[in-house]
Symmetry: C2
Subunit: 326 residues, 2 copies
C-alpha cells in the first residue's frame, strides 16, 4: 500500500506506519495452512477500509514510547476485532451485501462464516497478547463483552418502536464507540502514557465513535445509494430504529408510518413515506447537531493532551467524522 | 455444589476447589444486566458437566505455587471456552439437542446464539487476562485458533468419505484435545512450574484429550441412546466420519454402505447397515486400542512429574477416560 495524500492528511504522523498494520492483518490469511480458510480470510479482509481505528491506536501510542512492535499488533487487533464482528453481524442479520460487496455468509454460508469470525477473534486475541500487557488484554476482553451485548440488544429490538435515544446510544456504544474508545485507550496504555492521558484518550475515542455512528446512521438516509451500496433507509427497512427515525417518532407520535410498518404487514408504502418524511422533517439536522455535540465532547477530552501535531491530528479526525459523505 | 464421592475420587486434591470454579462461571449469568442475556447464559451454563478440563488445570496448578486467585479464572476460562464452542458448534450443525437437552439455537434462535457464544468468548478472555500472565494469554489465543480451524475442517469434510486417520486426528485435536492440552499447560504455567513440567503437562493433556474424543466417538456407536440423548451412529448420519467409521471404510473399501449413503440419496437402510457392520466388524475394538495407546502416551508424559498424589490423580483420569460409559 502506498500512503495516499488523503491518508497522510488525515492521519498525519502515523500515516506511514499504517501499511505495517495492514500487512500484519493480511499475514493471517497467508499463514492459514488450508486453502478454504485462506480464501475466506482474503475475502473478509479485502474490505479493510480507512483504517481509522488502527490510526487512532497509533496516534494514542505517540503520547508515550512509540514502540511499533507492540503498537502494530494492538492496532491490527482492533481492526481485526472490528472485521470479525462484521462477519458475525452479517450472519446474524442474514445480510447479503456490505458496501456493495457480497458478505462472507453470502459467499461461503452461515456455518463457515461463524467459524471464520471465531478464527478472526482468535487472531485478534493473539495480537493483543503480543502487546505483553495484561491491562490492555483486560480492556479488550471487556470491549468484546460490550460489543457482544450491544449486538444482542440490537437483535431483540428489531421491529420494536418503543426505543428511545438513551437505548440507542447504549446500542451504538456497544456496536461502534466502545472499540474506538479501546483503540485510543489501548494505544495510550501500551505507550505508557499518564493515567490522565489514558483516560482522556478513552473518552475521546468513545465520543468520536458515537459521533461516527450517528453520522453513519444519518448517511443511511441521506447518502447516495450507489456510493453506499445499499438503498436509502435500509436500517429502517430492516427493522432497526436509528437516531433520525427515533427523533421522528418522538416528533410525530400519532399517524406515524413507522408504527404502521412495524406493527402490520410491513407495507413498502409505509416505509417509503417514513423515509420521505424523515428527510423532510428536520430530524436529520437534529441528528447532525447531536453528532456535533459528541464531536465537541471528543475535542474537550483532548485538553489533557499536549498541544502539537498529535492533538491537531486527533482534532482533525473529529472534523473528518462529522463532514464525511460516505 | 457439594463435592460428591465420585468427584472426590476422580479429582482428588482439587475436588474441593471445583465449586469455586463453577461459581465463577455462573457469576457471569448473574452479572448480565439484561434479562434475555441472563436467561440464555443460565441455559447454556446449566449443562456444565464433569468439569474435567478445569480439574486438569487445577491439578497442573499443584505443580507449583497453588494460587487459586489465578488458577480459578484460568480453569473457568477453559470451561467457558469449551461451552462457548459448543454453542457455536450447535449453530453450525443446526443441532436441536445435546445430551437430550435443547440447544441454545433451538431455544433462542441462531442469531442470538452466535452472539451468546461471542459473549461467552469475551468472558473467557476476561478470565484468562485475570491470570495476569501474557504467556498464558498467548497459549489460549493459539488454542482458540486451532479450535476454530478444527471446526472449519469438520464442516467442509461433511459427507466426504476420503477422510483418513491422520486427518481425523487433526480434527479431534482441534475440536477437543488442544483445549485439554491448554488446560494442563496453562495450569502449570500459572503455577510457575519448570519448563519441563509445563511441556510434560501439555503433552499429557493433548494425549488425554485425543483418547477422550476417540472414546466419545466410540460411544456414539456403542452407547445407550437413552443415556447419550442421541441415536446410535448419529455422527455418521450427520455426515461425519469418526475413527470407527474410517477404520471400517479401510477394512471394506468395496461394497461399502457408507460410500453409498454419502454419495447417493442418503438412504436410511445404508446407514443402518453401516452402523450394524461397524458394531460387528471389530473396528470398535481397534478404535479402543488406539484410544488406549494415546492414554499410554499421556501416562508416559507424567514421568516428568514427581510421584505422589497429583501424579496418581492424573493417572487415574486416564483410566476414567478409557473406561467411561457415557
Amino acid at each position: 500500500m502506498t500512503t495516499s495524500t488523503d491518508t497522510r492528511r488525515l492521519y498525519g504522523p502515523v500515516a506511514d506506519d499504517l501499511p505495517r498494520v495492514r500487512d500484519t492483518i493480511q499475514s493471517i490469511a497467508q499463514a492459514a495452512d488450508f486453502p478454504f480458510l485462506q480464501q475466506m480470510l482474503e475475502s473478509a479482509l479485502a474490505g479493510t477500509g480507512k483504517m481509522m481505528r488502527p490510526a487512532i491506536a497509533l496516534l494514542a501510542g505517540r503520547l508515550g514510547a512509540y514502540d511499533l512492535d507492540r503498537l502494530v499488533p494492538l492496532a491490527a487487533s482492533v481492526e481485526l476485532l472490528h472485521t470479525a464482528t462484521l462477519v458475525h453481524d452479517d450472519v446474524i442479520d442474514s445480510a447479503d451485501a456490505r458496501r456493495g460487496e457480497p458478505t462472507p455468509n453470502a459467499l461461503f454460508g452461515n456455518a463457515a462464516s461463524v467459524m471464520l469470525g471465531d478464527y478472526m477473534f482468535a487472531h485478534a486475541a493473539d495480537f493483543i497478547a503480543q502487546t505483553d500487557n495484561t491491562q490492555v488484554v483486560r480492556v479488550f476482553a471487556r470491549t468484546l463483552m460490550t460489543m457482544a451485548k450491544g449486538e444482542l440488544t440490537q437483535d431483540i429490538t428489531v421491529f420494536e418502536y418503543s426505543e428511545d435515544v438513551t437505548r440507542y446510544l447504549d446500542r451504538i456504544i456497544g456496536k461502534t464507540a466502545s472499540l474506538f474508545g479501546t483503540a485510543a485507550e489501548g494505544g495510550a496504555m501500551v505507550a505508557g502514557a499518564t493515567a490522565e492521558q489514558v483516560e482522556a484518550m478513552r473518552v475521546y475515542g468513545l465520543r468520536l465513535g458515537i459521533a461516527f455512528q450517528i453520522v453513519d446512521d444519518i448517511l443511511d438516509f441521506t447518502g447516495d445509494p450507489a456510493v453506499m451500496g445499499k438503498p436509502a433507509g435500509s436500517d429502517l427497512q430492516g427493522g432497526t430504529l436509528t437516531l433520525p427515525a427515533i427523533l421522528y417518532m418522538q416528533q410525530r407520535p400519532d399517524d406515524n408510518p413507522i408504527k404502521k410498518a412495524f406493527d402490520g404487514i410491513r407495507q413498502k408504502s409505509n416505509f417509503d413515506r417514513a423515509i420521505r418524511e424523515i428527510l423532510e422533517s428536520g430530524v436529520i439536522d437534529e441528528s447532525m447537531a447531536t453528532a456535533r455535540q459528541f464531536g465537541e465532547e471528543a475535542r474537550a477530552a483532548l485538553a489533557a493532551i499536549p498541544t502539537g501535531e498529535i492533538r491537531d491530528t486527533l482534532n482533525g479526525l473529529v472534523d473528518y467524522v462529522l463532514e464525511r459523505r460516505n
